[in-house]
Each structure stands twice: as C-alpha cells, then as structure tokens.
C-alpha cells in the first residue's frame, strides 16, 4: 500500500455547520450546570483545602485516575468502572484528535498513530466500555447488588444512553468501513465486525449504507451532545465532583476532629447546610450513590436508622430544595435546620464514629465529621441528646469520668501492686501509663491495667501513673458533640501532663490514644503516644519479655478484633497481630477484619446509650466471633472488650447456655498470662520499676 493510512473525516456528511450550531446549546447547558454546582458549594464556609498540592495531586492520580480505592474490595465494581471510565476517556481523546485535525488543521490523523491509536485502541476501549456497561447493568438489574438501591431509574437512563452512544458509534464506523471498502478496516476490528454483521443482515446496497450511516451519524452526535449537556444535572457530574473531592480531601490525621472556637463562634456546630464548609457541600455532590458506606456501616447492618449513603443524599436533596438543582431556579428557600428537615435525631445518634464509611468511600466523603458537626449543634445549642448520653457527659463534667455509678476509684486497681507508682510520688518517669476511665473504673477492665503493669514491670520499664490526677481525655464528650466540655478536659489534662514534663505516654485504650496523639496537639499537648500493642511488640522484639511456650495451651486458636480507633483511625493493624503471633497460638481472621473490621458498637459515645434489643452491634460482632473457630477473641481496647463480653453473653443465651462460647481477652492479658514464671515472680519486688 503506497497511501498513508488515514480516513476522511465527515465522510458522507453534509451541512457540517450544523454540528457547530448544536455545539452551542450543549456547551451553554453544560456551563450553566457546572456553574450551578459551584453556586451550591459557595453557600458553604471557607476552609483551606488546596495547600500541599503535591500530596493532593498524588491522591488525585492514585484514586481518581487510577481508582485504587474504588477497585480495592469489590473487584467486579472496580472492573466495570475502570472499563467504562477509561473507555470514555480514551474515546474523548479520540474525538479531540478529530477536532485537532478538522478544526485546528493540524494533520495528525494518519500513519501509525492513526492505525494504532485512532483505530485499534479506540475500538478496544470502546468495546471495553460496552463490557463495563453490561457489568453495571447486570449488577443493578440482574444480580441486584444490595448496596445499589438508590436512583435505579436514573442509573438505567444514563447507562442506556451511554450504551446507545457506544453502539451507534460502532455502527457508524462499521458502515463507513464496508461502504468505502476501507483498506485499513482490520485495524478497527470491532467496527469491521459490526459492518460485516450489518451487511450480513441485509444492508448491502451502497445507497442504503449511505442513508443508514448518515442517519446514525447524526443520531449518535445528537445523543452524545444531549448526554454531555445533561452531565451536570445528573449523577454523571461525579465525573468532575469526585476527582474534585479527592483532590480537596482531608489531609489531617484521620482521628482528629476540627476544633471549634466555642467562645467566638456564632453558631456552635452545624444547624443549616450553610454552616458546613464548601468541601462538605462538595461532598454532597460528589457522592456517586455507590453504597459502599451503607454496606460497611455497623448501625445500618443491625437495622438502626442510620444509612451513611442516605445521610449524604438526604442532605443533597435539601441543598437542591434550598439552593436549586438548576441555575435558573428562583425558589430559593430560607435555610432550614438539617435535623428535623432531612435527618432525624435518631439517625444522628446511631453513629458509632467507626469510620468504616469514610474508609470505604472511593471519593473521600467525610461522613463522620459531618455527623459530629450536627451533634455539636444539637448538644451545645439545643441541649437535645439522649438522656443516657447526657448522663455520661454530665459525669465527665462532675466527676471527670463518664461512668455513672462506678464503684471503684482510679487508684483501686493498683492498691496491691507496689511497683505501680504515681507521678506525684516519683516526680518523673520515662513512660506515663495513661490508664483511661474504662480501665480504671470497670472491674473486668481493671485486669487490663494490672496485666499491662505486670508487663512493663517485667520489662524493667520506668513507668508511673497519674492516679487521681488523671481525668477523662474528653473523647466521649467530643464525639457526642460537647466541644466545650472536651476543650476543658483537654486543657486540664495537658496542663497536668506538661507540669510533669511527660514525654512518652503508653495507653491500652485506643480512644485515649487517638485523642492524646492526634487531637491534643491542637491545644498544646505534644507527646510520643504509644498504644500498648506497639509497646509490647517492641518489647517482644527486643527480647525483654520472656514468654513460656505452652502457657496458653487451652487457647489453640485466637481471633483478633480490630478496634476502630486503633485500626481505621490510626492504621495500626500489624502490631497487635505480631503480638498474638508471638504467643504460640494460631491466629484466625474473621471475614471483617483490618480496614473492614466491624465496630463493637461502643464508639462515638454509643457505649453509654441504650440499644434496642435485636439492634445491637456488639451482638452482631459476637456472632461473627463465635463462628470464627477461635477459643478466645483478643481485643486491644477496653470498650471492645466489654462490648464483646456482653455480646458473647447474649450469644450464649441464644444458644441456650450460660457459658460464653468464646473467651474475651485483652492483648495485655494474653501476654501477661504467657509470661514465664520467673519473670512473673518480679511482681512482689518493691521499688524495682527503675529503667533497665
């Protein structure tokens, strides 16, 4: 062949000017639609989310371009989306190439580039997009994936439109190839096959081919134009809002809530949508309705009124009602309170702040921060909160801990342990052992503290406790929404810690761990905070904890339950597992573990709130524990431990016994049990807690 491979643009098409004329309304509709979205977000308050753009760009490439988060966990969904999105991106580039050739008059559509990219690659990606669409349709209307429950009509319309665009595209290409006997037709295999199939179906006459081609060409173009113009008014807008949300995502530690200037803020927390910042409102528009949050939400799983997907979509609907879904909307409503309008209080109080929704969201929507913002308003401005939560908050205010009716005092658990000393006596120590209220006041949980003290003593660590000088970190108050009380507690604790010059803090409670590590720096408290699983792992690695193999013999298999505030919030999944593995027991994993760990139900102040029978998250988790095949569930959080003990008791009752089917042990308890006798003998020695 002596000719350069190419094809004639606008072959068989007359009145080309019409495509440009039709372009105008399409572009106008698109621009107006996009502008309307910007208008919606501008109703929010300012927030800095364009700093550190290198990191933001990295996330953009990984999660928007590469769709890492989207593909992880659900491969079928990931496949469909990659095929569809990349198919359309490549086809869009193909159209741009035509534009460059036809309108900018830069001759690039020829030669190898024409054959490889403009013909072969476009065909392959176009076919891929059709396969992707087929998978998407199958998931919605055949397999009926449970998390895809919203907007099925709109989904059907959008998927059908895209299918029509793709199929007519191949029909047009096929007809051109057979009608012109395109010598390079085999470089467009899908088009060629389509053309031959049409010929086989009877469209053989040249004149017929021309007529059908011309009709389909215009049809293809019109549908494409309408579709593009419709994007900003549909869920397809996520093409732009999702990458925008990913780019402007929260780069702060996941466990840190934004502090609130209680003294100088007009509205405490969020009352109306306008009290949110613009990223919060962008989140509402960025939601793709994929339902991954719904699928992982523990509250939703047990039938509580919270569905994180609907939380976002209900607020989106309110935003549309108040600001308008179209730019020419005149009926701008007065801002209404969100609670009572689109979200019920019970929904708000069902959240355990477990962060599973935020972790699962492929487009970086921050559900939990919004829930806390809404709670802040309910608690601080309205004083509307469940009575049980109120009692916990009142307890923190009056007694420095949320446990109403606690029988113990903070110093009880070490009354007979001479090696546990208070900072007030020793002045300073290398490690401050931050005990936490749950551990100090609950008789069952006190064993965690005793075990941990024994471990640190055995390893010759120089440690001390605060005794009565310790108070609640404020975490429950903060997650319930009382930022005012939280700040008081934080400032008081930081003053105590700084007065002693504390540098390193060890704690067995992931809630204390998270708050002191990620939230106290905002108030001037900067410490090296170590979770006990991390400390024990290091001590074991350094050979400072002599274990006696076989001491845990009755526990053949142990399963590990990930605490949300250690795992998802602080990415610590491996340290506790390394410790379990060092104990000479077989570790079995539950289906929902690590990033997908299922909450025990205690977070976000839920520990103190009433649970309707049959809708208890801890029982749901305990059932999973009971079927894991393990003799013990290992926890690394006192709340998880208490919730598992309680849940497993219910499971026992369900099974008609009084004996819990699986034992619950904190990591420290397992390690203390496995310590060699000689090491344990140190327990009696007085004053031996000096640094090694």
């Amino acid at each position: 062949m002596h000719e350069t491979p190419t094809r004639e643009i606008f072959w068989n098409i007359r009145h080309i000017w019409l495509t440009y004329a039709l372009l105008v309304p399409m572009v106008v509709a698109f621009a107006l639609g996009v502008w309307n979205h910007v208008r919606r977000w501008r109703a929010g308050k300012p927030i800095e989310r364009t700093d550190n753009w290198q990191e933001r760009l990295r996330g953009f490439f990984v999660d928007a371009v590469g769709q890492d988060q989207l593909r992880s966990g659900d491969q079928q969904a990931g496949l469909f989306h990659i095929l569809l999105s990349w198919g359309f991106v490549i086809l869009f580039i193909g159209t741009t190439v035509v534009f460059i050739q036809a309108d900018l008059r830069i001759p690039i559509m020829h030669g190898w580039f024409y054959l490889i990219f403009q013909s072969l690659i476009l065909d392959v990606f176009g076919l891929g997009a059709i396969v992707g669409l087929a998978v998407a349709l199958y998931r919605r209307y055949v397999a009926k994936v449970p998390r895809l429950t919203h907007g099925l009509w709109q989904d059907g319309f959008l998927l059908a439109s895209m299918l029509i665009i793709l199929i007519t595209g191949f029909l047009v290409e096929g007809l051109r190839i057979v009608a012109t006997s395109d010598p390079w037709g085999s470089w467009s295999p899908v088009g060629l096959a389509t053309g031959r199939a049409l010929a086989a179906l009877g469209i053989r006459e040249y004149g017929t081919q021309l007529a059908v081609h011309r009709f389909l060409w215009w049809f293809h173009m019109l549908v494409s134009y309408v579709f593009v113009g419709y994007i900003p008014f549909s869920k397809m807008m996520h093409l732009f809002t999702s990458p925008a949300s990913i780019f402007t995502r929260n780069l702060q530690p996941k466990g840190r809530l934004e502090p609130l200037d209680v003294e100088n803020t007009e509205v405490l927390g969020v009352k109306t949508l306008r009290d949110f910042d613009w990223k919060d409102l962008l989140d509402l528009d960025a939601c793709t309705e994929c339902g991954r949050c719904q699928a992982v939400c523990p509250a939703y799983a047990v039938g509580k009124p919270l569905n994180p997907k609907m939380l976002i979509l209900d607020m989106r609907r309110q935003l549309t009602e108040e600001i308008g879904g179209v730019p020419w909307a005149k009926r701008e409503l007065e801002p209404r309170p969100i609670i009572g309008t689109s979200i019920e209080p019970e929904t708000l109080w069902s959240c355990t702040t477990c962060h599973a929704c935020v972790t699962a969201c492929p487009v970086e929507i921050e559900h939990v921060a919004k829930i806390v913002d809404l709670r802040r308003f309910q608690v601080m401005e309205e004083a509307e909160l469940p009575e049980t939560a109120q009692a916990a908050v009142q307890g923190i205010e009056d007694r420095g801990h949320p446990f109403r009716g606690a029988q113990a005092s903070r110093r009880d658990w070490y009354a007979d342990l001479p090696y546990v000393r208070e900072l007030a006596q020793v002045g300073q120590a290398e490690y401050l052992f931050w005990v936490g209220c749950a551990v100090a006041f609950n008789e069952r949980a006190q064993k965690i503290a005793r075990a941990m003290a024994k471990i640190m003593h055995t390893a010759h660590l120089d440690f001390a406790v605060l005794g009565d000088e310790e108070t609640c970190t404020g975490d429950p108050a903060r997650r319930i929404g009382n930022e005012y009380l939280y700040e008081m507690m934080a400032r008081q604790n930081i003053e105590t810690l700084n007065n002693y010059g504390v540098k390193k803090i060890v704690t067995t409670c992931p809630h204390c761990f998270n708050t002191i590590k990620n939230e106290y720096p905002d108030f001037g408290g900067n410490y090296k905070v170590i979770h006990h699983s991390q400390l024990i792992r290091d001590l074991l690695a350094e050979g400072r904890l002599p274990l006696e193999p076989g001491k845990l013999q009755e526990l053949e298999k142990v399963t590990y339950h990930d605490p949300c505030y250690l795992g998802r919030y602080n990415d610590e999944y491996d340290a506790p597992r390394a410790v379990v593995d060092a104990l000479g027991v077989e570790r079995v994993e539950m289906a929902r573990s690590r990033q997908k760990g299922f909450c025990c139900g205690a977070g976000g102040g839920r520990y103190w709130m009433d649970d309707e029978p049959g809708k208890r998250i801890n029982v749901e988790r305990a059932r999973e524990v009971a079927t894991s095949g393990a003799q013990a569930v290992c926890t690394a959080c006192p709340f998880c431990m208490l919730m598992m003990e309680d849940g497993l008791r219910t499971v026992a009752t369900e099974q008609g016994t009084t004996e819990r089917p699986v034992a619950t042990r904190d990591l420290a308890e397992l390690v203390a049990e496995a310590l060699a006798e000689a090491a344990g003998a140190r327990e009696g020695e007085a004053g031996a807690a000096l640094g090694a």
């Binding site: 209680v262 601080m380 029988q407 005092s409 009880d412």
Partner: protein
C-alpha cells in the same frame, strides 16, 4: 411572678462508695477528690421554677449559703435559666442545724423583691434533714407544702401536688408560699446549653457579705446551734449469697419462694 429557689452545694453524692471517707475530727465527710455539685432535689426545684417561669413569665432568683466556691453552683443555676443569683457569705455563719440555715435564707429573701413563691429541694443531698423548707416558711410566715413534684398557677394562688404514701394530695395555697420539691419524671433538671453556660459566666452574682443581713452571733453563730453531732460513721453492710438448690427450674422456683416466705420478704 418572682420565684426564689434555695439551693445547696454539696459533695458529689455519686462518687464511688469506696472513695467515700469520713473525717472523724470534723465529724463530716472528707471531701477527698469529690467535686462540688448542686444537691439533686435542689436541681428539681430549679427545674420546677424555670418551667413555671416559662409558662407564666416572671423571674427566678437562686440563693445559696456557702463559700466563694458556691458561686459555681449559682452559675449552673443561671445557665439553667435563673435570672439572678445571690450568694450569702457563710464566713460568720455556723449552720450546723437547719434552723440556722432557714434563718439566714429568710433574711436574704426579705431583702429581695417581693417573692410569690419560695422553693427548696425536699432535703439536702448530704445531711438529709429535710427541714429547711418548713423552717423557712415559719421564718417568713408563709404556708408550706412539702414533697411537691409539680405545681401551677391557679387564680391568685397556686395549685400544688404533694406526694403522699401511695397517692397524691392536691392543695391550693395563696401566694406567697413555700414548697419543697421532690423528683419526678417531669422535673428532671435540664442540661444547660453551652451558650447559656457562657452567658452565665458573665452575669453578676449578688453577694451578701458577713453582717449584711443584720444577723448577729446570737442568731447565726455557734451558740445558735443547739444540735451537736456526736458520731458519724459508715455502717458496715454485710451481704450473703446463697444458691438455691433444685433439680430443675420449677423446683428452684419453689425453693426460692419458700426461702423468701421464711425470711418474711414476701
């Protein structure tokens, strides 16, 4: 309508029983690490007063006899919805018995704008005498209704419910009168809004200093107290645990019933 509510700041009654100690020299509770709170029934009284104000308008004045620390209790009352707060400095007052407390409070109430109603908790949260309300009515020459969970305006007077053994007595009283408030589901003290807490910190507190009420040592000093605490101790509580024998549930049930009857529990 002007309602005066007498409140008392006490050691937190909800500290753990194991942490509760008695100072044998002072013959009083050892504060230890316990925080100071408003007596629980006094909070009910505040709630009743604020609800009445919300229904019929008027103002609520919270009064307390105490040290400078008691200002915290008054701030809480203001945050809940009281309009004024009065602290009576306890420096030259020796209120070891309720009659002295009542005398001091009565003197302070006489200095206020005329009151329509005086409320107290049915008893303080620590000593549990339950006499201040009645003695206050005597001092002020007003009628007294004890154990009132709820009340409302009725004509020129008040309609009050009084809890009695196994029933409720409904009475009418003229204004002004004194009532002591007991707890009920509809007078659970409200949680103050954070905005109100911050506002309360800026409101003034009237302080009646020593001698400002015109009461001398003979009326409120040590010699005014005729009551003396001889001893104060924590009773030892013994508990026994007994497992009910029996082959099955029915037999265990029967045995349990028999034991309960034997011990005259049922």
């Amino acid at each position: 309508m002007h309602i005066a509510v007498c409140i008392k700041q006490i050691l937190d009654p909800e500290i753990s029983p194991r942490a509760f100690k008695i100072d044998p020299v002072r013959k009083a509770a050892d504060p230890g690490t316990a925080s100071l709170v408003i007596g629980p029934f006094d909070l009910n009284a505040l709630e009743v007063a604020i609800q009445l104000k919300e229904r019929h308008g008027g103002q609520v004045t919270a009064l307390t006899l105490g040290s400078d620390k008691a200002k915290e209790a008054l701030r809480r009352a203001l945050a809940m919805g009281a309009d004024q707060a009065v602290l009576i400095d306890e420096t030259q007052v020796s209120a070891k018995e309720p009659s002295v407390t009542a005398r001091v409070l009565a003197a302070a109430i006489r200095k206020l704008d005329p009151v329509d109603l005086v409320l107290t908790g049915r008893q303080s949260g620590e000593w549990d005498f339950g006499q201040v309300g009645a003695l206050l009515a005597e001092e002020l020459g007003m009628p007294f209704v004890p154990f009132v969970p709820r009340l409302d305006v009725a004509g020129n007077g008040l309609r009050l419910e009084r809890e009695a053994d196994g029933g409720v007595v409904v009475v009418e009283a003229p204004r002004p009168c004194v009532a002591s408030v007991t707890n009920a589901n509809d007078n659970v003290p409200r949680l103050p809004k954070v905005k109100d807490i911050m506002m309360a910190n800026r409101k003034p507190i009237t302080v009646y200093g020593p001698g400002e009420l015109g009461l001398g040592a003979a009326e409120v000093g040590d010699e005014a107290n005729r009551l003396e605490v001889l001893d104060l101790f924590i009773p030892e509580v013994k508990s026994e645990c007994e497992f009910i024998e029996g082959e099955d549930g029915a037999e265990k049930g029967a045995n349990l019933a028999r034991k309960l009857v034997e011990r005259k529990v049922i």
